[in-house]
Symmetry: C2
Subunit: 427 residues, 2 copies
């Protein structure tokens, strides 16, 4: 049996332990929901306050130049690029994951459409997982409806059967939000390319959580979220990435991503009446960038880059796996017989940085009872208890304590109290 002393010993020897000092965590809270909203970087309040009071309040319109607001999407994008295997100039921060997905999936369908025009008419299926995060499916459903594609939703073990002449785009979230299961990005991308299709990856649960190398995997398009493991704050700007070969082809063939707003224009401040896309990734920009949100996100991504001297994403991955291994082991040791089923794969290569448990009944109420005790995870309908582990700040002793709370909630049956069963608007 693993004891609390064992967990404390792991913290004592953790080479990344000092990174936690970068964050402001509330007293009395064990936060296992960084996969939904990352915690507050200690530097963020001052950075945002400076953007508000000095840059906006004092600099006013001049700050577009003097505070360099105009390049924030590229500068923050390039920082994100460092944790996802992107080269400078390939990543753009801004807007929401949904809007960014719309841009890149529409671009992918345009590229496929070019080939359909030249005899590849059968290539009309977008494949994704049925349990992919819903907004990805909704955006794809809308685009399929607009442009005459079929969105086909399959189970993970059915993906292998989808590679063929009808596959247009394989659109997957690298780490599934509901199962915590991680796909093999390089292998699936290769299989997509081998049958003439494109591969689009949502990195919402992997950017900052697991090592990602988009260029090594030869991915085509990617998007991701700023408010989870990048610690960018509530509703933070998201990001998108496009392989340079597609940027070049779009430029050569005059293909536009559909959200052709002024920040994606080659010369926005010439105020020309006709759209001419900018070169490079800027072609995927649209509206005026959200300066306050990008400033907070910039502080968030800095907390990850601070891990580079200690080994960066590889070191964070080692700790993440140790945290999730410990959580799984402790749940099995201490909460056996309570009907909890492990949803997340045991195999490291298939696991993200979260552990999800299913339970036939009471999942929502159990999560609420834990939250009342200061252990914050979340619930995903209909039956998933979800626990995220952020190696930048989660301690091994917190894992031990969280499982102890879970054990007590189950042993005492306190989750059966009515107040834990009243569903809130956001769960």
């Amino acid at each position: 049996m693993t004891t609390r002393q064992d967990a404390l010993a792991l913290d004592a020897s953790d080479p990344l332990a000092a990174l936690r000092a970068q964050f402001t965590l509330p007293e009395g809270v064990i936060y296992l929901d960084g996969n939904s909203l990352g915690v507050l970087p200690a530097a963020a309040p001052q950075r945002v306050a400076r953007a508000v009071r000095q840059e906006w309040g004092e600099g006013l319109i001049r700050s577009w130049n003097s505070a360099n607001w105009v390049t924030l999407p590229q500068r923050v994008g390039d920082k994100i690029g460092r944790v996802i295997g992107a080269q400078p100039g390939e990543t753009l921060a801004g807007e929401s994951t949904s809007v960014n997905l719309y841009k890149v999936l529409a671009a992918a369908l345009l590229l496929v459409g070019q080939r359909r025009g030249s005899g590849d008419a059968a290539r009309r299926v977008i494949v994704s997982e049925r349990s992919n995060f819903p907004t990805d499916l909704y955006i794809a459903e809308g685009l399929a409806r607009q442009h005459g594609f079929e969105l086909r939703l399959v189970e993970p073990d059915e993906i292998a059967a989808q590679f063929g002449p009808s596959l247009a785009v394989l659109m997957l979230t690298h780490v599934n939000y509901r199962s915590g299961r991680m796909h093999d990005m390089a292998a699936l991308t290769r299989a997509a390319h081998d049958c003439g299709a494109l591969a689009l990856w949502d990195l919402a649960h992997s950017a900052g959580a697991v090592p990602v190398d988009l260029n090594a995997a030869d991915a085509d398009f990617a998007v991701g979220c700023g408010y989870k493991y990048l610690n960018g704050g509530p509703g933070a700007p998201a990001f998108l990435w496009v392989h340079p070969r597609h940027l070049q082809r779009m430029e050569r063939d005059d293909l536009w991503q559909p959200l052709s707003g002024w920040f994606g224009h080659v010369a926005p401040f010439d105020f020309s009446p006709h759209y001419r896309p900018a070169g490079g990734i800027a072609r995927f920009a649209c509206g005026t960038p959200p300066v306050l949100g990008l400033t907070a996100l910039d502080a968030g991504i800095d907390t990850l880059l601070a891990a580079e001297p200690a080994g960066g994403m590889a070191a964070l991955r080692r700790k993440s796996l140790a945290l999730t291994d410990l959580f799984i082991a402790l749940v099995e040791q201490r909460c056996a017989g309570h009907g909890l089923e492990l949803v997340t794969p045991r195999e490291h290569a298939l696991r993200g940085s979260q552990v999800n448990l299913a339970r036939r009944e009471g999942g929502y109420a159990i999560v609420q009872a834990l939250i009342a005790r200061g252990v914050i995870g979340d619930f995903r309908a209909p039956d998933v208890l979800r626990f995220g582990f952020t190696p930048l700040y989660t301690r091994f002793a917190e894992v031990w304590d969280a499982v102890e709370h879970l054990r007590q909630v189950l042993d005492t049956g306190e989750w059966r109290q009515a107040r834990f069963n009243q569903k809130a608007a956001v769960t």
Copy 2:
């Protein structure tokens, strides 16, 4: 001749003078660029700091419910609705003007497309002004390209000739960014409807600047900007408005706006794999709302609502016209013979809340020389010097002083110095 004493007397008798105390203005600056970026509301730093430190830092994921983040787009939207003649539930805050325009123009084209399907095949022209703000034209150009419409750009005096069986959508910015000229929204909307077309209005330079009554004008769609006269901060979320008849028709006929993200789903937290649009204006929501940006925008719109006891937009309009009248008169009295041409109409019914001057040469450098003296206006290529007047905080004495600086810059020729002619990235 109008003296500085006259201007001071106007300030002394200004019933709205007290509203300026709501803002933090830098020392030594006369800010005539609130039409590009509104100044900092004094309440904004604390409101944003609370959202960062308490709601994000302490509340963490729980704040979606406890701080009511989830309804921010509707709550802020309804506040904006109060200055644009919208009923509660018709306006949604979030994303950029460009993205919002894409949603509502796409919806308009869908509605027109339904009729094209039933025999109205000639209705395929989107009409706008050649000097409309470029991002509106770029978004329309992209949508026209995607969906087989023609974007026709005309001069203001050519609009009247566009009403006919081919007109699909009349898309105009109510107050032109470059001329300061205001359209008659009700009359043009009526003319569009009379020929079977729809009218879409961009309120970027009118929301919070001039009285707008979308329902009285029977407009079809509207969008607008959060960072100009709404004082929402750099890159603030924008807003959109849709007439309820179109929301009802979209619901009845299962029409989706294209950015079908999860916040526009009828039940986002059910995590269903299929998109079913929410009822009402929420059908136009897309991604996770930008909480920090919406919080600053909320503080911004509050500065306008604070004018309601003093007469609201009608009172602000009276002061705005008095400010722009004074500026025009003073420029003509004091800067005559310097080649400045008034671009903005003299007629009150045709004027927004800015005054634009054209000059054959040196416009950029003159604006830079003024900025060096602390008088902040802006320049719009190729030849427009633009001065915005925000009745919430601009004083009559500032108008007098600004014109005096302009006179000195022109009389001394100091704008000819090389340093004023070096163009910055954003002008």
